[in-house]
């Protein structure tokens, strides 16, 4: 099997990946205005305050949209074809790219989903299953 991509872990996003290792999906919330977002960044994109804190997500969300790959842009995904990639909005507001653990025929926009953290070779990923 070809080498899979690995997360680009930085001092800014490390808490996100560390939390996944202990089974928690987290997002950032601004200590000044309360705005919530992913992916990790240094400043709040709403009020620009540099006071991001980390909060554990409920793990509930809904599907905004999804696609199904029939062609592997990276050789590491060739043996997973066809596979889906989705946008999920968490109940707390932040959106993220993820995979849905379901048959393609069962997917639909606005369907509720719950997080299922899966262990990859050297890191853990937040995927979702239908609620």
């Amino acid at each position: 099997m070809s080498e899979m991509p690995e997360p680009g872990i930085t001092p800014v996003n490390q808490p996100f990946w560390t939390a996944l290792e202990r089974g928690e999906l987290t997002f950032q919330r601004c200590g000044s205005c309360g705005g919530a977002w992913l992916p990790a960044r240094e400043e709040c994109p709403r009020c620009l305050a540099a006071e991001p804190g980390w909060e554990v997500a409920s793990g509930r969300g809904r599907i905004i949209s999804w696609v199904v790959y029939h062609h592997a842009a990276h050789p590491g995904f060739a043996d997973r074809l066809p596979y889906n990639v989705a946008v999920v909005e968490l109940d707390e507001g932040p959106r993220l790219i993820t995979n849905i653990l379901a048959d393609e025929g069962d997917l639909g926009i606005e369907l509720p989903v719950v997080v299922r953290i899966e262990r990859e070779a050297t890191f853990s990923l937040p995927r979702f299953s239908l609620a």
Binding site: M4, P39, V67, V68, H70, A73, H74, F77, V85, T98
Partner: protein, 374 residues
Amino acid sequence: MRGDIVIAGVGHTAHGKLPDRSTTSMNVEACRKALADAGVEKGMVDGLFVKYPTSQHRSMYGQIVAEALGIQPRIGGVWDQGGATNISMISFAAMAIEQGQCEVALVTIADNPRTGTRQAYERAWGEDDVYGWFGTPAGYAMIARRHMEEFGTTHEQLGAIAVAARRHGANNPDAQLRKPLTLEEYAVSRPVVEPLRRDDCCLISDGGAAVVVMSAERARSLKVDAAVPILGFGQGQTSWEVAQRPSLTETAAAVSGRTAFEMAGLAPKDIQVAQLYDCFTITPLMTLEDYGFCAKGEGGRFVEDGAIEIGGALPVNTSGGLLSETGMPGMQLVIEGVRQIRGTSTNQVPGATTSLVSNQGGIMHTHSTLILGA
């Protein structure tokens, strides 16, 4: 400034596979032809606006092209707004001319993703490659899916856009892909990133294209044969990546179009022919909605039954667009918009006096609009 600035000349290279041609050489060929078309000596050019080549990005590329052209512009450089760049550069050139910062501007693009590298289009977006999230088509597929689910837009309606482009391109001797497409053939086109199929995706092409921009007054004094007035232009942008975008089905085309229509003093009903950036079929469909040719969600019904083919209510992409003429982003659409006003298109809309062109870039991040008129 409606009508005060004109496109005085247009030029382009061949489209398709052009191995062993540098982007600099293709820029020079396109500029040489555009200057000849305008009847302008290169020594008059004092503005040079260059789109960065995605396949071979070099710093100070504007100066590299200026050196190859043997000109010393007062104003210019390289602009990066993805596929929206060309019309944006024409807009900046027009504003610079109005402000006396330059008098005769060349706006030019050349790229060679076909025989060079297309890495820029296949990379992961952001940090999400760990989920298998790669490439430009997937971003458009994510938007297309949402549109289909939210509004009932069908594959057949997306297919109608491909069929129209391929019909028009078949009649364009310069088009890279001259094989017409039927809806039946479209239906069995292989999936790339569902819901997008191969025939929803634009060509990948080498080539170059350029236009000469100057004031209408200057064009008259130089006795330019077929100067085409710019009636309006506009731009719009979103910074959010697809995953973070609050709405996947509304685009920066709305603000860009509104700005251009206001400047031109025109409305969508006044437009007789449109060249709408068609990197993927979903893009012109949503651009029609955001420009106000139809209500949001009605784009699919708008394009059905040949309405956007030559002879239809609003002929779209009459030279074949990115799906058939050349995948090179955007300037060919401007050139076809110019040909429609000059009356020289191979799919001419009889007596066209208003011609609209859209450019857009990234994954619907950036948008620019140009309205030309007689």
